[in-house]
Symmetry: D2
Subunit: 370 residues, 4 copies
Amino acid sequence: MNSITQQNIQVGEIANGLPLTIPVYRIKGDGSGPKVYVQANMHGAEVQGNAVIYQLLEQLKPLSLCADITLVPYANPIGCNQKSGEFTLGRFDPITGTNWNRMYTDHSVLAQRFAEQYPDLAIAEIEQQFRQLLIEHTQAHLDASLDRLTTGKRIALNLQRLAHEADIVLDLHTGPISAKHLYCPEYAKESASYFNIPHVLLIPSDFDGAMDEASFCPWWALQQAYATQGREIPVLTEAFTVELGSQEKIDLDEAWHDATSILSYLNYKGAFKDASFAPQEMTRYACLLENYRAFYAPMGGMVEYTAKPGEHVKAGQPIAKILRMERYLSETPLNEITLDEDAIAILHFASASVNQGTELYKFFTKVETL
Amino acid sequence: MNSITQQNIQVGEIANGLPLTIPVYRIKGDGSGPKVYVQANMHGAEVQGNAVIYQLLEQLKPLSLCADITLVPYANPIGCNQKSGEFTLGRFDPITGTNWNRMYTDHSVLAQRFAEQYPDLAIAEIEQQFRQLLIEHTQAHLDASLDRLTTGKRIALNLQRLAHEADIVLDLHTGPISAKHLYCPEYAKESASYFNIPHVLLIPSDFDGAMDEASFCPWWALQQAYATQGREIPVLTEAFTVELGSQEKIDLDEAWHDATSILSYLNYKGAFKDASFAPQEMTRYACLLENYRAFYAPMGGMVEYTAKPGEHVKAGQPIAKILRMERYLSETPLNEITLDEDAIAILHFASASVNQGTELYKFFTKVETL
Amino acid sequence: MNSITQQNIQVGEIANGLPLTIPVYRIKGDGSGPKVYVQANMHGAEVQGNAVIYQLLEQLKPLSLCADITLVPYANPIGCNQKSGEFTLGRFDPITGTNWNRMYTDHSVLAQRFAEQYPDLAIAEIEQQFRQLLIEHTQAHLDASLDRLTTGKRIALNLQRLAHEADIVLDLHTGPISAKHLYCPEYAKESASYFNIPHVLLIPSDFDGAMDEASFCPWWALQQAYATQGREIPVLTEAFTVELGSQEKIDLDEAWHDATSILSYLNYKGAFKDASFAPQEMTRYACLLENYRAFYAPMGGMVEYTAKPGEHVKAGQPIAKILRMERYLSETPLNEITLDEDAIAILHFASASVNQGTELYKFFTKVETL
Amino acid sequence: MNSITQQNIQVGEIANGLPLTIPVYRIKGDGSGPKVYVQANMHGAEVQGNAVIYQLLEQLKPLSLCADITLVPYANPIGCNQKSGEFTLGRFDPITGTNWNRMYTDHSVLAQRFAEQYPDLAIAEIEQQFRQLLIEHTQAHLDASLDRLTTGKRIALNLQRLAHEADIVLDLHTGPISAKHLYCPEYAKESASYFNIPHVLLIPSDFDGAMDEASFCPWWALQQAYATQGREIPVLTEAFTVELGSQEKIDLDEAWHDATSILSYLNYKGAFKDASFAPQEMTRYACLLENYRAFYAPMGGMVEYTAKPGEHVKAGQPIAKILRMERYLSETPLNEITLDEDAIAILHFASASVNQGTELYKFFTKVETL
């Protein structure tokens, strides 16, 4: 059995002076495989990733490990415990409104200079030294004067410091009411087929504050920088946001399957010796980020969501009914909502009550199979 | 087709000076049947009652009506629109924390004196005059100096004034994640079998601030007052809280069935001529309020709810698993939770994240069949 | 210097499994004085009590102590850390809406039987044994099955167990925007003059869920029980809610003065040897709880509070202006609000935005001097 | 007396189907002056701007007007009515966390093409036609398919459409606990001296989503575009964010002064005939946005803010004390916080309870006088 170690890292302090800590679990391989980082629950209501980490730990124990694997459940001790009514209000800092998953720091700017400085460095050296550079720069932000860092930045930088040690980064999230889907950088498209996830969102390599981007953007920038010098190197890190389904829900069986899906990908990446994890056969649908369409409520009302997550809808087919009882006599009380193009419903809003302009659905459009 | 009229009543004003209004729909019968009052959505997230009112209106239109029926969707225009994150935070006044369904006023105190004053009044006269007294007292509260009324009291009194006009009052609610169940005053037990609701909670005639109690308690007190004078009269009003299932959800088909269930009860009470609505055959389980058991989370953690709403669980059988990843190595990360007696799971918490002491489940215990 | 000890008691667990703890500070006297319990910050935004405890500790260190004193800052680790926007949303449980200071348990019911069982017990024995009984009953609630206790009850019972050890209990609170005032049980009226607090609210000995009531009601019931047996005993415990001023504010100088005020009272009660703390001369105004008048906003709007906390207002004198810009042309945009009786403004709402029915002010009316 | 007209524009719909409307007041001048747009209360808690609009209307009525003036109080009917506890939680959309003042749309991209298309157009024509273009493009966004617009975008676009009609735009805000200050685009520095505001923040012409930027950035871009063609035109629109002081507060006298300050600026811009409004003499301190320093809490705790808004602090001088009672015995309970450079404290956090990393203060540093 592999041994697991636990370290609790302090990422902040709350108003009554108590420390905010995050548990970090580590399993060591024989050094021949990749370094893997998995975190969960950065958004407070997105708890299922903790169950996936539980099932990963259970399955990793007996394996013959090549990879070093770091697993961080409860990545955000504020978001995780922020209740407002029965639900968890942990998508953004309750004080500032800032999305917890938009507070990571982009180090892509380091790439250009590194490539210029070390034009001929061997790949293994590039990987090791640039990784070190990313860790040092992250640490430097953390070591800056305490009054320079927001609460969220401090949490994010602590996690990012751990993530930069890895060449495979998985950030486990969920949608509101959602089908499983994967945020996959376009350059890592091939890897998407090793997850048991039927919906793949192909994202460009632009930084928008999220963990996956913070992890891979500098490496992509590095590859670009060498390319402009005429040298082809691979993008040496892969990072994904794995959307496990719906928020506010723990399902341990489903978590087992999702752990298996991750193990299948890690097996493909050489994390294990003699392991048989392999991807399931399934049609995998891909959509470019620019075609990932948000559909906002055209009117305020009470919504019955008739298109279920994962459902393929045809142009003109109803996706929802909006009930408006305020003017039952003078207006149509029941309104059928349709979409004007073929699409796959990926997720919908978690509540039946919507204002005009609330995000009702997100759809894959212009879908291709992977 | 019966004609429906709409009146918008103002129940308050918000900070930017806009009025808070509630739509009131009325259908008139031939005067030979009862007066019926149905309201929905007093708690903001409990929206399904609006859909039931929609389906009631659709089904009432062609009926031959004896009863006058008043229907009030969106009973609480503050709660209905109070968002915090994606969910609706409408169970209590966001300023004071007071449960919106605990702000009604008890007029039971009027009963004793009325019975003393009119010992020999005919039943029909009792009904008419005591009803008038309840309406007048409610109106008097509303007509008091404006600085004497809280926001919630003003909304509640406006609704209560409408409800007191009726001898049948239905307050449509939902639980968090919930099976259908009915709050039924013990004296009206017989009526419970006319709803298509398998779980019946028998409540005593004590006032605790809710609409159903505000509606029937004075009439029960009146019956008691006459009884102490040696005269037997019936309790002249019935009121129920109808729990339609889960919150934050609109399901129009289910709403149709629930409307039919209500029509079955109203048919039994003489609301229609030549209507065929009849209760479904089903086993109806009854539980006394004192045996309605709240089960609080014995530890903080992430919960998989394994006992589903409506499920009959045996003593010692697991009802939930609580995952705790904070001390994966030093404690049992996965904890099976059991109940120490046989029970029916009626509802559970809406979120997977719980503190120690969060209400996890509510159970019918010491169940009998009706 | 007196030695201070610290104990951290666990009062719950949050969703990520971390314990909720409360720091308990104790200073021992020579045993000849009373036992004193002081807590602060049960409501999250009412932080000034923590500063008063700080200043108490600083001043207590060099004193010659007769009393044993227990001091508990941050009494509510959930409320204290519950942010919603910039402000602290800690007046009620964010999940249930229940006021944190309405969750204590009344043990008054034990009094009658105790008096019957020990009709002739010496006062010192009564005090010791009844105190023991209260502690045991509180502990029994805590030792009950874990699934029987709500989050708030568990916190409250832990505090109450500590408070029952004392014969002087001070619960430090603040109002929203508020003058200093004291909740004082009518029987302890004499003690009120030893605090440097100009406004005294005289409360009857009914239990409504608060810490002060939970502390003194059983002792008052005991005195009553002996009285019905024809024996006069004193009420052996005094408890006060000390309202220190406005919430969301720390003022260390003011805290020093408030600490001195408490030390003056404790000196009067024999807590110190050779201490010179004495009450300031001031007019102290008293008001019966039934005359403590809440004034609700007669309309929605934006409020300028012209009557300041502590101000004596005359009937008909303006207390506020309400601005309504929604119908500037068709209605009076600026509305002067008056009170119809003489009063002292004790506190007002913390925000300028009010709905119709928001509690605008609380007033002492029918004021007498103490 | 000038006549004032009111129009209510609908900017959305809430969940119970009620429309969200905003009152728009207009006063017409003789056409010889500028077009002025003033709005207030985009952030829910920042109510004082409504009082300033009230005092502006009162003072504008008898004036001899050259300018057409549009005034919009309660610009955000959702934020204005969003309570969470006693305070107004209206800084961001409660569903998404997005800051309401970051949802405006940048039309700067239109400038380049316009300048190319009309290289020699007369200034008056440029102004009229480019203004028309901005209005049309804003309207086009509003006329797009309803499912393309978020709730906040729809509100913002409605306001922006009104603002684009003006060549002077004032967006009235407040800070949390704050001194008066003015966000002023660097190119309009000269105008800053006509407001009675001692602190001026000079901002570059980059778009970051706010109303002032949305209003002036396209005009600045237009000026730049003509400059690259070798033609010098002025920036034809000025827009300011006027920070009136502290949130959650109405002060009608102060509002009168602030109205006078605005009238002084408008008088300078030719809005009135024969009006005597003139700026007060005062030292005006200027700070570049890049030197506007946020100071985050270096530890969690309870804060006494000792540097008051408007106070000039010296490097090393204490600005706050942070009290930490959790480890009174083992750590320093009272921590003095200092700043490492000379500065003017402009605003501080509204609550005494802070997490590590909460924004404690904002400071003008590297201050110059205007």
